[in-house]
Each structure stands twice: as structure tokens, then as C-alpha cells.
């Protein structure tokens, strides 16, 4: 079984989602046995980290860049863009700037986990901070970065403490490390968008900016900037150690390696797991202990993703290209299994309202369109409003793709997928009014009401 030697149980994430803690011990017994070189395999402290993974090899930047390019690593923050290609663009710019006597490039490590249903970055940063710092150090060298920022949510003291402790350990032990500045970002949804972080670091508000130029062209302080998710950087730390062939030995040819996923909803052991890319949806659910009750659909890709009917999800391969072809997304590796008794329309309406409230409020179509769509979906779920489906269908093209960032695109995709996948539920609501599931406790996680400015 492919997933048996690639899983990790994370009691902390499970507690966050209200799972029973009784399953922790036996889950721990079934965790990774055949692998000692994966992201969540090692201890959190420096001595243990060095025992487990060995020191970061003394490669030059060109070697690291070449190895990452050949590894086929793609970004684990949601976009699944080839990491090597992005690094190459910044590295090339770095060389050009050096010969023009301009200041060096910038690396931004994104550890702001904006997706409410995701816990993988938080798990990685607290359980393997040295892997992230190794990856930051290797990537900074590869792209000639002169400044390095690690962006973390300002209200998550546990993560900030874990990273600070790790930085202190490395300094006392004189472990070569990039000069990392911790940048505290507001815990708002769109604040973790890459252009938001760049504006924040430059002293502005953490709000998305109009592109192009993309950050790799003009980012922090106008310099070419590499923005990578912390998991992506942790993979770089391992690729630098073990090489591209090692990385490709797991996963699929077009989606190599492992990935961290957060599996929640109607599964026995919700939590963060490390999986080999390319396992099936059924294997993913089995990894999280299997389902606890009949499941009607799985939300794949979080709130930027889409619903997949249970059977379709079972046979889908868990990779970015495969999930895209199936009509969903890998996103940041978020999977929520929706119980058969839940009302999918009410669940989606709740998230749609949240996403509308999380708009940065900068672009007209997002400001106006998302609340209108959320309201229509609410009216459909709660009252069987007859005009709602047509209204949503007509309004969506005026919202999708019309913001400076992709926030409205994700929200509209999620709503459209709910109407398509749960078409039978829509008919039931139109003819018989709200279903009993609308009164059940919500499954899709949302943060406690957040108030405040950017």
C-alpha cells in the first residue's frame, strides 16, 4: 500500500478540528515506517534534525538551482507552478543586477496559512522548522537573495516562537543560515497572497496589488523577488541533500515527490499527512483512517477548489494536474469529506459568505459580486429561492477573473461547483424547501469572526 509508509498523523491539527484524541496512539504506531527522509519525519530540535537529515550540503547556488529544476518540484502554496522555473528567473535577474551594480534579489518565504481548512504549514513550521530554514538558506543562495523574509501570521505565537527558537539554536551552533527576518502578517485571507506580502514588507498594507509586474520581475523594494511557500522550501532542503532522482522516486512523472495535505470532515483521523503524490482519493481517505459515515462529496483544494462527488474523488489521482482535469484543484492540499447528511448548499453558502467578507475591498466586481452571490446561495439553501440558480449563473461571469488577485475566481469556482455537483439538491430545495441537513452543525471550518483593518 502506497500510503502506508507515507502518512503522518498530526494530533495537533486533529485537535484543532475537534477530532477525538483517543486515536492518536494507534495512529502513531502506523505512521511512517519505510521513510526516514520526508518532511515530517525528523525531530524539531536542531541536534535531532541534524542527526535525522544530516547537514545541508555545501553546494553552490548554481548546483542547487539545477537540482531543483531537474527535480520537477512545483509550488505547494496552491498554484503548483514549477519552482525551478521561478527560481531561474530570479537567479538570472540577480546575475544581471550584480553586473549592473544594483542591489541583490529578495526571497520571501510564505508561512501565512490563509486557508481556514489547512493546517499543513503550521504543522511543518512547528514540527520541522529547521527543514524550512535549510530550504530558505539553499533557495536564497540559488537566487542570490540579499534579503530574506519569513512571513508568519502575527497572531500565531506558537509558530513565531518555534521559528525564533530554531533561529537561536542555529546561531549558537553556528549552522550556516540565511539572514532571516520574521515579518508578521495579518491573519486575513488575502493578506497571504504574494503581492500582499510584498506590499506589507515594503511598509504598505497587506493587500493584493495589480499585476504584472509579477514579484519575480519586480517585488520587494522593486527588486526581483522569489516568493515560495514554506513547504516548497522544505522540499528544496531535501532535494539539495538527496538530489533530483531521489525526489522523483516517489510521486508521478508530472507531479513528483510528496506533499503535505490536510484531511478533515467525516474521516476517523482528521489531520495533516504527508502523501506520495499520485495516490488515489480513496487511498487518501484511508490514510486519514477512512470515513466515519457515508460521504456524498469531497471538497478538493480548499476554498479555492471545487467539490467532487464521492465516487469521482475515489478514483481521482491526488496531483495538481489530475485534480484540475477532474474539475477540482490540489490547491494547498486541502480535502474535506462531506457527510451524506450535510446540506452541501448550506455549507457552501456559509463559506461563500466568509469569502465575501474576506475580500480586500479593492476591486468593484469582488466588493459587489461576492456578497450578491453569497446572498443568492443563502436564499437557495435556506428558502429554495427560485430565482437564485439563474441569478448566480448570470452574475458569475461578471465576478470571475475581474479582480486584481484571484480571490473572486476561487469563490466563484467553489459556488459553481456546488451548483453543478449538487444539482439534485438544488432541485430538491426549489421544490420542497430547505433540507434537514441545513440544520446540522457545519463541517467546513471557518475561523472565528475576525475583525480589524489590514
Amino acid at each position: 500500500m502506497k500510503q502506508a509508509n507515507s502518512t503522518r498523523w498530526d494530533p495537533e491539527a486533529a485537535r484543532q478540528y475537534g477530532a477525538g484524541s483517543g486515536s492518536g496512539a494507534d495512529a502513531a504506531a502506523s505512521q511512517a515506517t519505510g521513510s526516514d527522509r520526508r518532511l515530517l519525519g525528523g525531530p524539531a530540535d536542531l541536534a535531532g534534525h541534524l542527526r535525522w537529515h544530516g547537514p545541508l550540503p555545501d553546494h553552490d547556488g548554481a548546483t542547487i538551482l539545477d537540482t531543483v529544476e531537474r527535480s520537477g518540484l512545483t509550488g505547494r502554496g496552491g498554484a503548483a507552478f514549477p519552482t525551478g522555473r521561478k527560481m531561474r528567473a530570479v537567479a538570472d535577474a540577480s546575475r544581471a543586477r550584480r553586473s549592473a551594480r544594483q542591489r541583490g534579489t529578495v526571497l520571501v518565504a510564505n508561512g501565512c496559512e490563509g486557508e481556514p481548512a489547512s493546517a499543513k504549514d503550521r504543522t511543518l513550521l512547528t514540527r520541522a522548522p529547521h527543514l524550512v530554514l535549510d530550504g530558505i538558506t539553499a533557495a536564497a543562495l540559488a537566487v542570490g537573495a540579499e534579503r530574506v523574509h519569513l512571513c508568519l501570521h502575527e497572531d500565531d505565537d506558537a509558530i513565531i516562537r518555534a521559528v525564533q527558537r530554531a533561529l537561536d539554536e542555529r546561531q549558537s551552533a553556528r549552522v550556516p543560515t540565511a539572514d532571516v527576518q520574521i515579518t508578521r502578517a495579518p491573519a486575513r485571507y488575502v493578506a497571504s497572497e504574494e503581492t500582499s506580502l510584498i506590499q506589507l514588507i515594503d511598509g504598505g498594507p497587506a493587500l493584493p496589488r495589480f499585476t504584472p509586474p509579477r514579484p519575480f520581475e519586480r517585488g520587494v523594494d522593486g527588486r526581483p523577488t522569489l516568493v515560495d511557500n514554506v513547504e516548497t522550501l522544505a522540499h528544496i532542503a531535501l532535494i539539495a541533500r538527496h538530489g533530483h532522482a531521489w525526489f522523483r522516486a516517489t510521486g508521478t512523472p508530472n507531479a513528483p515527490g510528496t506533499a503535505l495535505v490536510t484531511v478533515t470532515g467525516a474521516v476517523s483521523r482528521p489531520g495533516v499527512y504527508e502523501i506520495a503524490l499520485g495516490i488515489t482519493g480513496a487511498e487518501l481517505l484511508a490514510t486519514a483512517g477512512g470515513t466515519t459515515q457515508p460521504v456524498q462529496a469531497v471538497l478538493a483544494g480548499g476554498y479555492f477548489g471545487a467539490w467532487l462527488p464521492e465516487q469521482r474523488f475515489h478514483s481521482a489521482r491526488i496531483t495538481a494536474p489530475d485534480l484540475l482535469a477532474a474539475g477540482a484543484a490540489m490547491g494547498a492540499g486541502i480535502f474535506v469529506a462531506l457527510p451524506g447528511e450535510s446540506c452541501a448548499l448550506a455549507e457552501t453558502a456559509r463559506v461563500a459568505r466568509y469569502l465575501a467578507e474576506q475580500s480586500a475591498g479593492q476591486c468593484g466586481p469582488c466588493i459587489n459580486g461576492l456578497p450578491a452571490l453569497a446572498q443568492a446561495l443563502e436564499a437557495l439553501a435556506a428558502r429554495g429561492d427560485r430565482r437564485a440558480p439563474e441569478y448566480i449563473k448570470n452574475l458569475t461571469p461578471y465576478v470571475a477573473g475581474r479582480g486584481a488577485c484571484r480571490h473572486p475566481d476561487g469563490a466563484t469556482r467553489l459556488i459553481a461547483s456546488a451548483l453543478a455537483v449538487f444539482a439534485a439538491d438544488v432541485r430538491t430545495h426549489l421544490h420542497r424547501g430547505p433540507c434537514a441537513g441545513a440544520r446540522r452543525a457545519p463541517i467546513l471550518p471557518l475561523p472565528a469572526a475576525t475583525v480589524g483593518a489590514y
Partner: protein, 76 residues
């Protein structure tokens, strides 16, 4: 058939756009109105015969939110 030799396209910076609607009035051939009064610009290249008008429309935007971009270079 309209002659199209340029690769120039219109683009709106949605952050800067405040829905004054000047562009919608000036260039209805390529710019429509959404339900809230914001411009919806055509994704097709600007036909040659409209290029001069498109440039004037870009200049007329009170918030400088309308842009002409060259899709082959990404410049604007």
C-alpha cells in the same frame, strides 16, 4: 471583417477603477458595463481602426485605470 494587425489589448486595473464610466461612453465597441457600472473590456486585440480612439479613451480615464497592453511583450 475588421483588419486587426496589432496585438494591443485593453486592460483595466480593477483596484484603480472607480466606475466613472467614461470609457464605457467613449468606446462602447470594446467596453461594456457590468451590473455595478464597472467596465468589462473586450479580450480581443484592439482593431486598427479603433486604436486611436482607444488611446484617447485610456487618456480620458479619471483614475488612470484603463491600460493598453502589448500581449507579445507584456508591456503597458
Amino acid at each position: 471583417m475588421t483588419a486587426v494587425t496589432s496585438t494591443t489589448r485593453l486592460r483595466v486595473n480593477p483596484i484603480a477603477c472607480k466606475a466613472h464610466g467614461v470609457c464605457i461612453e467613449m468606446l462602447p465597441e470594446l467596453i461594456g458595463r457590468d451590473p455595478w457600472g464597472y467596465p468589462v473590456v473586450s479580450e480581443q486585440p484592439v482593431p486598427d481602426r479603433l486604436l486611436a480612439l482607444a488611446k484617447r479613451t485610456v487618456e480620458a480615464c479619471p483614475t488612470l485605470a484603463l491600460l493598453l497592453t502589448d500581449s507579445t511583450t507584456g508591456r503597458r
